[in-house]
Symmetry: C2
Subunit: 498 residues, 2 copies
Amino acid sequence: MYSDRIRLSSLHSKVMSADEAATHVVDGMTVGMSGFTRAGEAKAVPMALIKRAKDKPLKISLITGASLGNDLDGLMAEAGLLARRMPFQADAALRKAINGGEVMFIDQHLSHTVEQMRNHQIKKPDLAIIEAVAITEQGHIVPTTSVGNSANLALFADKVIIELNMAHNPNLEGLHDIYIPGERPNRQPIPLMKVDDRIGVSAIPVDPAKIAAIVITDQPDSYSTVTPPDDETQAIANHLIHFFKKEVDAGRLSNSLGPLQAGIGNIANAVMCGLIDSPFENLVMYSEVLQDSTFELIDAGKMVFASGCSITLSQRCNDRVFGNLEKYKDKLVLRPQEISNHPELVRRIGIIGINTALEFDIYGNVNSTHVGGTKMMNGIGGSGDFARNAHMAIFVTKSIAKGGAISSVVPMVAHVDHTEHDVSILVTEQGLADLRGLAPRERARVIIDNCVHPSYRDALNAYFEAACKKGGQTPHLLHDAMDWHTNLEERGHMLKGK
Amino acid sequence: MYSDRIRLSSLHSKVMSADEAATHVVDGMTVGMSGFTRAGEAKAVPMALIKRAKDKPLKISLITGASLGNDLDGLMAEAGLLARRMPFQADAALRKAINGGEVMFIDQHLSHTVEQMRNHQIKKPDLAIIEAVAITEQGHIVPTTSVGNSANLALFADKVIIELNMAHNPNLEGLHDIYIPGERPNRQPIPLMKVDDRIGVSAIPVDPAKIAAIVITDQPDSYSTVTPPDDETQAIANHLIHFFKKEVDAGRLSNSLGPLQAGIGNIANAVMCGLIDSPFENLVMYSEVLQDSTFELIDAGKMVFASGCSITLSQRCNDRVFGNLEKYKDKLVLRPQEISNHPELVRRIGIIGINTALEFDIYGNVNSTHVGGTKMMNGIGGSGDFARNAHMAIFVTKSIAKGGAISSVVPMVAHVDHTEHDVSILVTEQGLADLRGLAPRERARVIIDNCVHPSYRDALNAYFEAACKKGGQTPHLLHDAMDWHTNLEERGHMLKGK
């Protein structure tokens, strides 16, 4: 039974129910789980834990790649299962528990988590629960639709539970490239020079003696909730394509631009879709999540290779890709997020990073995470890994939100995830601000003139002029700047009197 | 004449006065100059330009490694010579011009400047003025006490002026290791695995045809203004050494700790001096500036190798080092700042970065640059290059300033240079906060309990408790937080009623 999927016969005896496997998890444990932006998460054992936690208090620290699908983050939060959670999430119920102070959320750069474990800075998992399409003759784990942190979590954990998910296309095997950086002080350079280099092995080389349980499942990943481009996201894409064209014309970029990275979500996905009708050719991606746009670009003949750490697709795109995996397989690779986001590689290959901002300020500081400076939305994710070391760090957002009550461009962001030092280009549907080589006062002029919604332009100009009268490298009137955020909270609009 | 120093005889005809050489600089030019934290800056030609600018308007964009010695930054600012300045400065007169909006200051991560030039993101210099101890038989430039950005500035410039400074020990030759990363998309890994690896050449390989002038000078570098440790800096050092001991005991660090990086200035220098009386052995540095403490540690037999991009010493230490260079030469290397600060290397070798904060907040965000969120102090320097990719990012500061009118720990920093994601350890003379693996609310508790001056502890506790009542991942009361900064400005003390 399952002998084509569990190829090391000594492991056949480890097959058991999810409830039985879940007994390996005890109160207070640090648990690592597979899963990256709704792709390839363990499904059955977490559900068994949720069931248990409802009967009897059970708290764990949960470490994953990124957010989980099948509402697991929310269900675990609601069951009171989560004492601590890192490094990313994107669930309404978990978000509520985090902002209420019930779950301690450690919001990390996604390339940092396993490096910190390796170096004894944070606790290694007691147990890892990893989704697989197969277990090799050596007992090694073949991941499913994400690698994320699965390889290191499995290698660091004392025990491993495998969820063998029959719902995934077995042809996923061969897609993964598992490379683990060596221990310091003898670490060697990561030998990746091109986005399509394969530098590792195709399965996670765990010691089979650590495999405590194998659970057979048959539940698909959740679909992404990405929506088709709208007028504003199309306008953002157009501004960016126009900018790239100018860069190519000036000889500053080649006609294949450079390795592209795109953050998750509607705006970045729409921007990438915009490249279908661009003059650029032979595009490549070196990114975290491969979304619908990646496959639209491949199908359009625009993109020749995409490296990521997970594949997360909408319902519309899912069957097209996973039902025809052989068509895409030689154009794809999935790597550990430590490698997809590694500063060494981001700097070496010169990534063009396109990420979504929650808001940015007139000097180019970006808030990716905190509404009103206090409430967590999702987390910084990989945006900092890319922006900090990228060839070009681009942040995109619509200029207004909530029917105009919110301007995404503010005098001063109330939380900084990316400092002005790390931000090259800002784009809204209004236009594009090229901040390269500019001082803060010059940045403000370019941002206000190009990115701000007309309904906020006068107010930002007035702020900037008044602040400049006071002087400084980065002129500010601190309370006036904060009024924008407190007005929104107290009166429902960022500007007084609206 | 100077044939031992100018070994390519065809260049002998290029020797001229500083005034004559300075005629190569014309209004509107982008000029690159050697110099990194008072070490190895061009001296005579800038003075000639200052003289010219006083007679007749002359404006340039000036790009260096970091700050200049011999008051040049201030004298250039006062002469109205500087239209733009990047990537760092540390001069009172220039600071005033920057904050007044007269000089556009582009405050950059120090590893970014030449990478941005190479990739056509910022303008390359029209002309470079580089201090040298010798010109080789090939016409290549042997730098003096800093490499900084000199190699790339000279290679990118159309014309090069060399200042051959007879005041430097000629034995500096052989100390430098010039490595230039290749062009993308074919860039290879940087082949440095250990702090003492030599990966480049010992002189800057410029085309001699570009050398437009050679000026003979005899003026020494300025001394650093570093002061001996005081009670507070000694206490900071003690807290950090105690922490390192615990890390060693727990097996998380070896007894030689790891490659150390220390920011410039009194506090970081004092912390490094504190290691002389520590139990750690065979220390190595991989840092920007090698200061007094580096040589104290070498003399004490504690440090076996130091890699930097400049040597900047106090008067007390200067003769001891440069008068006995042969004693130290096999324990030192000077590299381009792009390499001393490179994210690939910082991550690979696992640097322990120790940098000075201007202030930090209860959640661990650090302000390194802006007084009151508006006025530039010096610049971010290399602190972000190190903190962002380090094994351990440590920030140090005294808990209070101005006789207690300022708390260095505030509810919310008014300018963020290093986000909470990039900060591992905070230390004041009060104690040490280990933030690794903690959520923001936990960080606040640890920071307030360990780092805050007693005279501010109640106020910060009250702020944190009130903010938590409002909720959020990072609880804040925006106006209450800003009051600390505006109280200081308006009433001379951060707390109301004082």
